[in-house]
Amino acid sequence: MIAIIDYGAGNIKSLQSALSRLDIPSLLTTSKNEIEKADAIILPGVGAFAEAMKQLEKLGLVSLLKSEASKNKPFLGICLGMQMLYETSDEGGECPGLGLFKGKVRLIPDIVKVPHMGWNDLQIKQNVPLLNGIREGSHVYFVHAYFAAEGDTENLVADTAYGVRIPAVVQQGNVFGIQFHPEKSGSIGLQILKNFGELIS
């Protein structure tokens, strides 16, 4: 069972229906008990960073998510959920994140149109189980204005080019971040979610 953290902002229904099409059981929850019992956690993400962190704090989930992530339980942050894995974000004033990954989230420089919106191609840097069956250059759907600007390069699994190099998939142990929306990226995205489901022991 995957616990999808339901902190109130954005579209999470699509994520849940994508998982159910793959026969991966999931539930939307904010219950500490359910999150602790779950085999894996997805921190989804459409929304604004400061608002989302405020919601997590209000729900009393910040320290719980940190401790769950340290238990080697598969933990996936998607889009804003990936950004929240980092130390801070510039979105909504410098705002602290969960700090699971080193680095800062910054606005995409305006040498390109911001937000980065649409299908862009993956440049794969490391072959990891999460990207099993995914070809170099596969198109996936991005919708974001901020990105993980200063992260550890050893965590970088795949990136894409949009004015700058945008980390697209990051991994540190069993904690994963995906900047694009796998639930909106057609069969490529579904394959990635399926791969994540297979990490659950």
């Binding site: 911001v114 919106m117 649409g118 069969s187």
Partner: protein, 258 residues
């Protein structure tokens, strides 16, 4: 490589059915929105737009129900618009499964709706639709389904909306809408030149060449169309192959195994 240009079928929905009109009038029933959405997803559409053209409140529930069904069936992003007046209205359709919302008349009447929605949901999901029509030497913003001239300059409004937090602008040219003689490239370019957010060209697609013009000379990041897709005058596969031949970056679609 680079960010690809998007092809976006637009579905106008009235009481749960897709309809199509010319210049916002003479509506005709076309299809079931979910069947059509799945078909476009499989054909390689990069995104979809559902526009609720129903005015009544009871029909609004039918529409939200449809949004939920669409979200369960397709795995590409979609935008929902029509009749969204408050942050609450927006939250309702996002919770139902929409990825972005398109606001139009309500933003003209209350520009703060753009900033409030951007602060709460992130600016990437706030799309401003501008219905514009040429009046003398400028383009005016029209509201209420193209019926009311606000006198507002479309270019100025686009710039203001970007500052307020709009993440994308759909430029809908009333003059060319439904005529199938091509997008309004001048209007599109005029807006693309003054903002730094994605621009979606809308209104007037009749041939594959029109899409290429919008994405090249019209400086659009995406091109939206309705009837040419609904009536199968243009096949999305063939359109994307045509655009690729002109060196326009276009997403390749792999067969959906799920």
């Amino acid at each position: 490589m680079t960010l690809t240009k998007r092809i976006i079928p637009c579905l106008d929905v009235d009481k749960g059915r897709v309809v199509k009109g010319r210049k916002f009038k003479d509506l005709q029933d076309v299809a079931n929105p979910i069947t059509l959405a799945k078909k476009y997803d499989e054909a390689g559409a990069d995104e979809l737009v559902f526009y609720d053209i129903t005015a009544s409140n009871e029909a609004r529930d039918i529409f939200v129900d449809m949004v939920e069904k669409v979200a369960a069936e397709i795995s590409i992003p979609f935008t929902v618009g029509g009749g969204l007046r408050t942050v609450n209205d927006i939250q309702k359709v996002l919770r139902a499964g929409a990825d972005k919302v398109s606001i139009n008349s309500a933003a003209v009447k209350n520009p703060q709706l753009i900033s409030d929605a951007a602060a709460k949901f992130g600016r990437q999901c706030v799309v401003l639709a501008i219905d514009a029509k040429q009046i003398a030497n400028s383009w005016h913003v029209f509201i209420n389904g193209g019926r009311v001239d606000t006198g507002l300059d479309a270019i100025t409004w686009a710039q203001k909306a970007e500052k307020l937090g709009a993440g994308e602008i759909v430029v809908n040219a009333i003059d060319t809408d439904g005529e199938k003689n091509g997008y309004n490239l001048d209007l599109n370019r005029a807006i693309a030149d003054v903002v730094n957010i994605p621009i979606v060209a809308s209104g007037g697609a009749g041939s594959m060449q029109h899409f290429a013009e919008a994405l090249l000379g019209g400086k659009a990041d995406a091109a939206l169309a309705a009837s040419v897709f609904h009536y199968e005058e243009i096949d999305i596969h063939a359109l994307k192959a045509f655009l690729r031949q002109q060196d326009i970056p276009i997403r390749e679609v792999t067969a959906n195994e799920f």
